[in-house]
């Protein structure tokens, strides 16, 4: 060893690849949505590389808390996709493990890593001319927020926008202020909680109880469902029982996503690699797979 450092080979877009190497993003803002959930707004920092490509609603990123690990988190906003690049991203995440706790604690100005975009999207545009029915359970409202925002941004393309949301308690309800704004913008919002507190004057019960009163038009509806697996199954079955074709019911699957591009196989669910073939899947494909007992 001479002590002389050898210059590292220059990384380029082609050698790094946004799929394999995280881009640095800076936390521009941090909003506490509930006691354990925050929405981080990420912006591109000054760096030699382009931001990652633009995300579509429903797609996810692998977010890195440096020195701790990486987790898959769906986009929860439309962001800024100038030039086809994700120049601003929004992610809503809940502190449930070591990585998400670290990301939850990330303060404005700090850097986190972003890989993506990965997976399939909600394909909101395919619902043009139809009613949009959104059913969210718990943190599942976060990946569905871009569906609402997309539909509101191009309101005349869609029929009714119906949002049915379930939460554990009133305090766990995401985007409470935004729900009011969406109501004023014409979104038919109904909310229920599993456990009420003394100040709650809304509904109490399972989110499926909101379906019948919503008076849906099954022949003309496209449903977007996200939440815990069991909640999605019961919701999708309830929607199908009311006549919405399963091919027009989309669910967002969550499995053990690692690489994001179908290389590692950790997220395999039957014939699907959820990171690549999902997370958004039609219930016509997902129904049987969601009943498969995991190894």
């Amino acid at each position: 060893m001479t002590g002389q450092r050898t210059a590292a080979p220059a990384l380029t877009e082609s050698t790094s690849g946004t799929a394999a190497v995280p881009r640095f993003y800076r936390v521009a803002s941090r909003r506490e949505d509930t006691a354990d959930t925050v929405t981080l707004e990420l912006t591109e920092p000054a760096c030699p590389f382009e931001p990652v490509p633009a995300f579509a609603p429903g797609q996810f990123a692998m977010l890195t808390a440096f020195g701790i690990g990486e987790v898959p988190i769906s986009v929860s906003g439309l962001g800024d996709n100038g030039g086809g690049r994700a120049r601003r991203l929004e992610h809503t995440l809940r502190a449930v493990g070591a990585v998400t706790r670290a990301l939850h604690a990330a303060q404005p100005g700090s850097l986190i890593g972003v890989r993506g975009p990965f997976g399939t999207s909600w394909d909101v545009a395919s619902a043009a001319g139809r009613d949009i029915v959104i059913v969210a359970g718990g943190i599942g409202l976060a990946p569905l927020r871009p569906v609402v925002l997309t539909a509101l941004a191009d309101r005349s393309r869609y029929g009714r926008i119906v949002l049915l949301a379930g939460a554990r308690t009133p305090g766990d309800l995401l985007y409470a202020g935004e729900l009011e704004r969406w109501r004023r913008d014409g979104v038919e919002v109904a909310v229920t909680v599993d456990r009420a507190d003394t100040g709650w004057s809304g509904q109490v019960g399972l989110v499926t109880a909101l379906i019948e009163p919503a008076g849906l038009a099954p022949d003309n509806s496209v449903a977007f469902v996200c939440g815990p697996d069991v909640m999605m199954r019961f919701t999708a079955d309830a929607l199908a029982a009311r006549g919405i074709p399963v091919s027009r019911i989309r669910v967002s699957l969550e499995r053990n996503m690692r690489c994001g591009v179908g290389w590692c196989g950790h997220c395999q669910l039957g014939p699907l690699l959820v990171c690549r073939d999902g997370p958004v899947v039609g219930y016509d494909r997902a129904a049987a797979l969601m009943r498969v007992r995991e190894l």
């Binding site: 379930g166 554990r168 003394t198 809304g202 109490v204 019960g205 019948e212 909640m231």
Partner: protein, 166 residues
Amino acid sequence: MTGTVAARLSAQPFFAVLTEAERGALAEDGTAVTFAAGERPFDEGGVADMFWLIEQGGVALDMRVPGRGDQIVETLGPGTVLGWSWLHPPYRWHFGAVARLATEAIAFDAASVRRRCDADPAFGYAMLRAFTPVITERLQATRLRLLDLYAAPSQVRRVSIGPVNV
């Protein structure tokens, strides 16, 4: 709400499994009622001598928990039925109920409906076919809520069902 009880029953999908004649018979035991917001149709432990089909407004089922007041366990809206403790002995309410909004409903004389069920098994079977789906749905919903699906992993009480080594 206006119109005869029979006409109002015909407009409700809940009793769609009943024939027109059966709905007509049921209507004879029904009376239109209203509850002001905050009014209590019944309290836990009381005699379950009525049931209601909610047409407008909303009702919450609750239970008094010492130190925590009245805890709401479920809310019910238009088109659904309030009360099924009248179906089986001891005919006592297991929960209380409170109108959360100004509520319009059709109230049924439970004892009279039971007598009709006993006298006419076809009518009784139709009534059970009307009630069973809602009972099943609420049971399934309650089971799912017991799973506490929206809880964070740290909030979930894990129960081992595997072998226990002592």
